[in-house]
């Protein structure tokens, strides 16, 4: 994504600045600009080259009402921003990711917050051999921790409350690297810890994936995850 641009992308950046692109093409460029610094650099270079030609247009005196209108909007903006500080952020549902996609990156993030999490669970009576921090995919905030005191028994511990919409439930899943499909570990109550035996599963292993998806209140109708991932993480040997 950060490699040198090809000619087509240089021209695309130029066309974006000129303004010849359709709305869909403009939106596609704007989406790429957020994570492609080379493309952004090309766009900015074109902006600098062309900006002198804004002088080809005649200045037009704005109507007297325009500044007062801007000022009112500015004040309204300011009011709404100071109000929003006291309002708790609305819970936003994550959109469904293709099922296992992104899990590797999330595993990395989980590893990064491990240090923090470890200090919180150090009062546990037994030292877990494995640990999983389950993060919300979009906010990357930790929602649950899985502790395994041995390879057959795990404990899922909530780190906060979580609202489940009416008619829906959280279903807990796991999948080791070489498994073909995830296996359901059953429904879990938001905010309630749960202890599970994995007797019918192979021993827990490093990098094993765990996640909670939002399903119908009777569980996934297919036996495989169907709803959006709410929390996801990978087991780390500790």
């Amino acid at each position: 994504m950060t490699g040198p641009l090809d000619q087509d992308d240089y021209a695309l950046a130029g066309e974006y600045v000129l303004g010849t692109l359709s709305l869909a093409q403009r939106k596609a460029v704007e989406a790429r600009l957020k994570h492609e610094p080379e493309l952004l650099r090309a766009v900015m270079a074109w902006e600098e080259r062309f900006v002198p030609y804004t002088a080809l247009t005649q200045p037009v005196r704005p109507s007297d009402s325009l500044w007062p209108r801007i000022e009112r909007s500015l004040n309204a903006l300011h009011d709404s921003q100071s109000a929003s500080v006291t309002t708790p952020p609305r819970r936003r549902w994550v959109t469904q990711l293709p099922f296992w996609q992104g899990a590797a990156g999330i595993g990395m993030a989980a590893a990064l917050v491990m240090g923090v999490m470890l200090s919180q669970v150090s009062t546990a009576p037994t030292t877990p051999e494995y640990m999983v921090v389950l993060l919300a995919p979009q906010s990357q905030s930790a929602g649950w921790v899985v502790q395994a005191s041995n390879q057959q028994q795990i404990e899922l511990i909530p780190l906060g409350t979580f609202e489940v919409p009416d008619g829906k439930a959280l279903e807990f899943w796991t999948k080791a690297d070489e498994w073909q499909a995830p296996v359901s570990l059953g429904l879990v109550e938001p905010g309630q810890p749960i202890r599970l035996r994995l007797d019918e599963l192979p021993p827990l292993q490093d990098n094993q994936l765990f996640e909670l998806t939002l399903e119908d209140d009777t569980g996934s109708p297919t036996g495989l995850p169907t709803g959006p991932i709410q929390f996801i993480g990978r087991a780390v040997e500790i």
Partner: protein, 187 residues
């Protein structure tokens, strides 16, 4: 292009906006408002819509001022790009069902050497005293016209084609080739 723009410190005004100083945005509006409205009006060609866009652009500049990085470009360029892109998005949105903008790749494979029957004259008095002038000067007149019709008038490929009489594929090819030549020339 006059030296006026050099007297006004756009970067420090943006820094003040980022700190929440309403007066700074007002100073910017007083100094650049008429030029911004001129640029936007030329693109959207509707006075009410142009003022709406300048209103939105000012709020946008205010809210995004803290993301402006003087190491990466000039503040004045950044301010004008915010307003121009707001105007361009607005007209492309307005005209999305009217403007036919085919992505058919065969469009662009048409002969780039389309010639008007008569001598083409400059559509713009375009010399601004910038280095880019020399590069624009090296383009054929009709191609330079296409580039400036896009940048100044906000015309789409199809509109430039209608305006100049050159086929759509030719316009697309001319603009793309012109951009690559301009880039080479400015390098």
């Amino acid at each position: 292009m006059t030296d006026e723009s050099l007297e006004f410190d756009h970067a420090s005004v943006l820094a003040k906006c980022a700190r929440g100083e309403h007066d700074a945005l007002h100073q910017l509006y007083v100094y650049e408002g008429a030029r911004l409205l001129g640029v936007v009006l030329r693109i959207v060609k509707d006075r009410g819509m142009a003022e709406d866009i300048v209103h939105d652009a000012c709020l946008n500049i205010w809210q995004r001022a803290n993301s402006f990085d003087p190491a990466k470009g000039s503040a004045r360029t950044w301010i004008f790009s915010v307003a121009r892109h707001q105007a361009l998005n607005a007209i492309r949105y307005r005209d999305r069902e009217i403007t036919f903008d085919s992505n058919d790749p065969t469009d662009i494979d048409l002969d780039e050497h389309f010639q008007h029957s008569s001598v083409v004259e400059d559509a713009f008095d375009w010399q601004t005293g910038q280095r880019m002038d020399d590069c624009l000067h090296q383009l054929e007149t009709e191609r330079r016209n296409c580039v400036l019709h896009a940048y100044v008038d906000g015309l789409s490929h199809a509109e430039i084609s209608a305006h100049t009489g050159a086929p759509l594929g030719t316009v697309k090819a001319w603009i793309k080739r012109s951009l690559l030549r301009l880039r080479e020339c400015m390098a």
